[in-house]
């Protein structure tokens, strides 16, 4: 049976991992390749690298990073951040990335999803959607939640599926960083209304939160950063817990 995925997310700036990495036993905690190897060995099912470099120039280091990760890591990984053209994606996939994640570039020019899906197949096109619930309405936001759009989460999600997204990475801005659990109600609605896998993001604090994202939120994968980076949750423990909860995970 297909298992639920546990997906650590690494924020990358100028080729280095950022956001309070607390791995004392790593030689270089800021080295994304070493961290990725650590997660792969500890049972992560896939990895996401999110490049938050401010400039185009510095993003070029990302290509090198992708090559190094592909060389060392034997599980699939997704790369996102600042990707806006077919050419960008071509380079990343050729270097060994399995999937790419696009966000604001898809909102600004939705045809990009069709173009990527036609050229590379929908299985490698992840559309990331950041949304904030305002007066009961889930509104799509850009720039890490700073800029509101006119799009509604569920209509936008259906549109990206129709245009050829292979997967949706949904981050609830209301839950992100709170460690109070995932946005299970919205997740569950996405999962029921769409026919492509949904990755839950934002709010992971405890093992129970992951369980709820899969059971109540019906998510196919759950992504988290700080709970893994700060070693609050170890992936082998998490998987044992989920397995006891009756959730299928890879052992």
């Amino acid at each position: 049976m297909l298992t639920k995925r546990i997906t650590p997310c690494l924020d990358i700036k100028n080729g280095r991992t950022v956001k309070g990495i607390n791995f004392l036993d790593l030689r270089d905690a800021g080295d994304p390749v070493e961290l990725a190897e650590f997660y792969a060995k500890n049972g992560a099912d896939e990895l996401v690298f999110l490049d938050i470099s401010a400039t185009e120039e510095k993003r070029k280091t990302l290509v090198n990073l992708v090559l190094q990760v592909a060389e060392k890591v034997n599980i699939p990984f997704t790369v996102g951040g600042g990707i806006s053209s077919v050419k960008d994606v071509d380079v990343l996939l050729q270097c060994g990335a399995d999937k790419v994640s696009i966000n604001s570039s898809a909102v600004k020019r939705p045809e990009l999803i069709n173009e990527l899906s036609a050229k590379f197949g929908n299985q490698c096109v992840v559309v990331a959607i950041d949304a904030k619930q305002i007066d009961g309405e889930w509104i799509v936001h850009l720039v890490g939640g700073k800029e509101a759009t006119k799009l509604h989460l569920f209509t936008w999600a259906k549109e990206v599926e129709k245009r050829g997204a292979g997967e949706i990475l949904f981050t609830s801005m209301n839950h992100d960083g709170t460690k109070n659990g995932f946005a299970n109600e919205a997740l569950s609605r996405l999962s029921q209304e769409l026919n492509i896998p949904i990755i839950a993001s934002g709010g992971a604090g405890t093992k129970e939160h992951f369980s709820a994202a899969f059971k109540e939120g019906k998510a196919d994968a759950a992504l988290a950063a700080s709970v893994f980076h700060f070693k609050e949750i170890a992936i082998p423990d998490l998987k044992r817990f989920l397995s006891k909860e009756g959730i299928l995970v890879r052992k």
């Binding site: 049976m1 297909l2 298992t3 639920k4 995925r5 792969a40 099912d45 896939e46 090559l67 592909a70 060389e71 034997n74 599980i75 699939p76 996939l93 050729q94 270097c95 060994g96 399995d98 036609a118 590379f120 197949g121 929908n122 299985q123 490698c124 292979g166 997967e167 026919n195 492509i196 896998p197 196919d220 994968a221 890879r250 052992k251």
Partner: protein, 197 residues
């Protein structure tokens, strides 16, 4: 040992090259018929859409060459699907090596299937030291119908063939190059297969 990866513009070759490197093997990417014929092992990769991939094979004559190869050949993902009789994707006729057809999962399940699923009913040297129900990474919307050439089975919506074998031809739906240690072991097993037919 000379290992070639068939070059017909089908993405994500780099991951296969790196996986082989981790096993201390080097592979050459080539579309040259003579080089492919003379290699000890041939890997036939594939990511993307079936009808355009088949067009590329035809334009270079690789569609004629591949079925005549006599050394061990491993088709991966779309590569495996193209080795079958026919695929529903783009209503494409295959290379007719494996006697089965490729169909699309229904909308009763999420499509594509993305993630780790189990392989069972393992029946080949390809799976030496691989445990029954081992997890492999899969990402696909189309599947091979069960058939006598099946050497591994996976369940998603229904039981389907996740690996096939006929004589020197092997095909796997999953990505051994992305399936952790167990995947690397399968690649290693493939590279250890001996002889020509």
């Amino acid at each position: 040992m000379k290992i070639v990866i068939i070059d017909y513009g089908a993405g994500n070759i780099q991951s296969i090259k790196f996986a082989l490197q981790r096993l201390d093997f080097e592979a050459t990417l080539t579309a040259n018929a003579e080089e492919i014929r003379q290699a000890d092992k041939v890997i036939f990769p594939g990511v993307g859409e079936a009808s355009s991939a088949m067009k590329k094979l035809k334009s270079t004559g690789l569609d004629q060459l591949i079925p005549l190869l006599t050394q061990p050949v491993l088709g991966i993902c779309l590569g495996m699907q193209l080795m079958c009789l026919h695929t529903e994707e783009g209503n494409t006729t295959g290379l007719k090596i494996f006697n089965t057809i490729i169909k699309r999962f229904s909308n009763q399940v999420k499509v594509p299937q993305i993630g780790w699923n189990q392989i069972s009913e393992l029946e080949s040297n390809l799976f030496n030291e691989i445990a029954e129900n081992e997890f492999m990474y899969l990402v696909h919307s189309f599947y091979a119908e069960s058939c006598p050439e099946m050497i591994a089975q996976t369940h998603y919506e229904l039981d389907y063939a996740s690996a096939l074998r006929k004589n020197n031809f092997y095909g796997v739906q999953f990505h051994p190059e992305k399936s952790s240690k167990a995947g690397e072991k399968i690649l290693d097993n493939f590279l250890k297969l001996e002889g020509r037919t």
